[in-house]
């Protein structure tokens, strides 16, 4: 199979991820719950993973790293910790439903969308500048659009938030493992991400990196292996957010994935992904009926490319390519706001997304299949 849906999940993982998971299943008990070696081994694995993640994500330390089940889980913790009924928040025009549906579930919330035109970092920053005011309780911004691969000016938005004294929540779902994530440098309140995309861990893993001053409200309550006599959740991280038994096979796999990313380096991974997207864009540009959604400035593009074929239904094309062994994602990608901005709300787009394991021949195969689209 030619897999070009890494923005959904990176299907191809370093082999050590599966090995670490298999080992965890048979060797790791619940971390910290007992004094025996299988519990201590699990605790050691979790700690190493937290430490590795804190390094990669620029967090203050391993305690600021919360294991979640997904980016959505982390975003729910972050949003519900900072935003209540009657508040006002500012979001980017590229937010995923993980953000917008969570906001929608909070009654009487005013949601301001900082959106002007597609793929303009200057316009985005200006939109945030004009939308944030004294009533703003939080700014929520994705680092990279999951639809278009467009990189938002998160450093500048973070500076703006600091100047205005507004907590920032970053959705790093598409950037973690590909771009530098700087939790403390940005002074972000929270940075949420999945473990199974650019970090090459398994599905069912996620991370919420918490700023040094953040004190999130527990979303789940239950046993933590600490302060068991108390009926309130512990007040400190990470225990306050990690009720229940940890997903040790997931954490072990995630640890192996993060080690892989740190070994290769985000710069090399980004360069590789950009090169593939550039090749694909060049190939598709030669096709008369294909419309690409690409920023003019290539420096704000990551490893995702959205396109449409005039007169063809996106889902049908994607389905047919799937039958030929080419895996893509079509539709609205759970991000209707981004499609509104691009004017593709009705049609959707076809999205190709690559990873460290994608090859030149993969994108060439997609281009060749589309060149022969009349046969599709």
């Amino acid at each position: 199979m030619i897999y070009l849906d890494s923005a959904a999940t990176s299907l191809q993982k370093p082999p050590e991820v599966a090995r670490a998971m298999a080992q965890a299943v048979s060797r790791y008990a619940s971390p910290g719950r007992g004094g025996y070696s299988a519990s201590a081994a699990a605790a050691e694995c979790a700690f190493r993973c937290r430490t590795e993640l804190a390094g990669l994500l620029g967090a203050a330390g391993p305690e600021q790293i919360i294991f979640t089940s997904s980016a959505t889980h982390g975003l729910n913790i972050a949003i519900r910790s900072l935003v209540s009924s009657g508040d006002q928040v500012v979001i980017s025009g590229y937010e995923h439903n993980a953000v917008t549906r969570t906001l929608e579930s909070i009654p009487n919330l005013e949601v301001r969308v900082a959106a002007t035109k597609l793929f303009s970092q200057e316009a985005d920053l200006e939109a945030f500048r004009s939308q944030i005011d004294r009533q703003t309780k939080a700014v929520i911004c994705t680092h990279v659009s999951n639809v278009f691969g467009y990189i938002l000016p998160i450093g500048e938005i973070a500076t703006l938030c600091r100047e205005r004294g507004v907590p920032l929540i970053v959705d790093a779902s598409q950037s973690a493992g590909v771009l530098p994530v700087k939790t403390e440098e940005w002074k972000a309140a929270y940075v949420a991400m999945p473990g199974h995309k650019g970090l090459y861990g398994p599905q069912g893993t996620g991370i919420l990196a918490c700023g040094k001053e953040s004190n999130p409200t527990p979303l789940l309550t239950g046993g933590t292996g600490s302060e068991s006599r108390m009926q309130q959740m512990p007040s400190y991280l990470p225990d306050s957010q990690e009720a229940g038994t940890h997903n040790m096979p997931g954490i072990a796999g995630l640890h192996a994935g993060v080690q892989f990313v740190r070994r290769i380096g985000t710069e090399r991974i980004l360069a590789h992904e950009r090169q593939l997207i550039r090749t694909l864009a060049e190939q598709l540009n030669m096709l008369p009926d294909v419309k690409l959604y690409l920023p003019g400035n290539r420096a704000v593009q990551s490893g995702v490319l959205s396109f449409r074929i005039e007169g063809r239904d996106c889902e049908t094309v994607s389905e047919q390519l799937g039958q030929r062994g080419i895996a893509l994602r079509a539709g609205l990608h759970c991000a209707p706001l981004a499609h509104q901005l691009a004017g593709t709300s009705e049609t959707g787009t076809i999205r190709a997304s690559v990873s460290a394991f994608s090859r030149q021949m993969d994108v060439m195969a997609l281009a060749a299949a589309l060149r022969n689209k009349m046969e599709i």
């Binding site: 971390p31 004094g35 430490t51 305690e63 600490s226 512990p234 225990d239």
Partner: protein, 84 residues
């Protein structure tokens, strides 16, 4: 053998504490705190030898880490809190 237990607020904090001490050449072992000294229920401690307490506290202070409580073992196996 007499030793000290540095009670930590969480397992992760205990792991960080032990890592800092080990890096400074102080042998540190993480264990679940004995029930007799775990006032709020379950907790984790870092065990260090009697002669390394002063050095350990200096090392931890440098990185702004503080144990929740410190206990010393008595000859009869009981624990006595150490007030600093």
């Amino acid at each position: 053998m007499v030793y000290y237990l540095l009670i930590c607020r969480s397992l992760t904090y205990a792991q960080r504490t032990a890592a800092v001490l080990e890096r400074a050449g102080i042998s540190a072992h993480i264990l679940r705190s004995p029930a007799a000294i775990s006032t709020t229920g379950c907790s984790h401690s870092v065990k260090i030898s009697q002669r390394r307490l002063a050095q350990a506290l200096v090392v931890l202070k440098k990185v702004e880490m503080t144990p929740k409580q410190i206990y010393m073992t008595e000859a009869d196996g009981s624990y006595r809190e150490v007030r600093l």
